[in-house]
Symmetry: none
DNA sequence: GTGGTCTAGACCACA
DNA sequence: GTGGTCTAGACCACA
């Protein structure tokens, strides 16, 4: 799974990489313990400067999503229950609030919105159930 | 309702203003047609550079959230069904995908997550029902 | 207070900067809320590449030692009681263990070592009492 | 006593080995003159590249902690009073300064900190009194 | 003026 | 081969 970079997005490249790797892990496309491409390899593959890749990897490591083993490479980490969960919980609340605001401008009522979210969740968990 | 700005946040100030005004409108704290404070007034009130306020207002106008009438001031727009709805729909999908990714790292299952979103929506629509 | 960099130290430059700023804050040479030199200014002053300074500042911000305010600059943060304290506690234990190991090779007994640490602490807190 | 290596640590493996051997000696778990495992044996035991073990042993020999006798093996050295003591003294000061900085961020006062260090020292010297 | 991002390219420690 | 550090230099968003 190679990240697809949109160089004219207003989201910085290193954050696009972070987001897509987190997504790939969440979807089960990258299994815990699996090796990620090396900084140089990924840099070559998607034609992005290695420093930018390294920055993304370092941030992912700081978040506990991946682990670096000296001289060996970078690997998807096991799911760490616990630390920082409250912050993630709050981040879900923050995102949901944005959804509720958008829903207002779309003139979506409570039921309609929830139906939408349900079907999106359904689709997501189905795919996830298949891949691993 | 005066926006509360956190100058330390990594979110640019002008975006904090945009977000909070959109929220206030969505919550019904600002009614369609209601007058917003002028750029200068708001700038003075929250001690922010007027250029920054102006930038936020320009962006809000571009999104059709507010309208400026020359010589009269700035007003909350009526809800415009239509233009840009697909984009908003896509933005809901984008936000929901982020929620699904976070849910994975929180190790939330489908039911748990949906229960969380339900209760957040419930609370939101209740408050909204009261204010206007 | 300008950091003094030893380019041939095995400690990376950005970490030397981090350490010296933490020390300056701990000694009271930099007060909470006080402005630090800008990235460019410090880079020019100590003849180090701005990117390296920026890396040090970013790490200090991540640790909550300093705060960046967009477009304004970088400031010493107020002491945050709390988060991460356990980790710091553990880091004191780790450092103390290293001291105890060194003491063994110096053939220092318990009393001698503690006397040394006492006098070092005494001197430190005296200086600190004067500066602010 | 076999070193426990954490390949994920940001401390290089060879330094983890150095540190743990110094600790074992300081705690009396390895007596002066006692034979250490050979490079190959240790490498096999803890599943680490022999070059890495060799590097650790070389550094330990340079510091006078261990001695290699050709054809016989590697042994814990007798305590050498003298050479390098000033450097070790300075290293204690360096470590103590780091502790004082951490104490500041923990908002520990002089007495509290010293009490902590006392009790850590007490525990250490007790264990040490038992083992040899 | 401020920090943030990105590139190109070099060098290094580690395993 | 792997990631980490550092430089020089460019460009950008923000306030």
């Amino acid at each position: 799974m190679w990240p697809r970079i949109d160089p004219r997005s207003d989201l910085p490249i290193y954050q696009q990489i972070i987001q897509q790797i987190k997504e790939a892990v969440a979807k089960g496309l990258i299994a815990p313990g699996e090796k990620l491409p090396s900084v140089r390899e990924l840099a070559g593959r998607i034609a992005i400067n290695p420093n930018t890749i390294a920055k993304a990897y370092q941030e992912l490591e700081r978040e506990g999503i991946i682990e670096t083993i000296r001289g060996r490479g970078t690997f998807a980490a096991a799911l760490s229950s616990g630390v920082g969960d409250e912050m993630k919980q709050r981040s879900i609340e923050g995102l949901m609030e944005k959804i509720l605001v958008e829903a207002h401008y779309l003139q979506l009522g409570e039921e309609e919105l929830l139906a939408m979210l349900h079907s999106m969740a359904r689709e997501w968990y189905e795919k996830k159930g298949e891949s691993p």
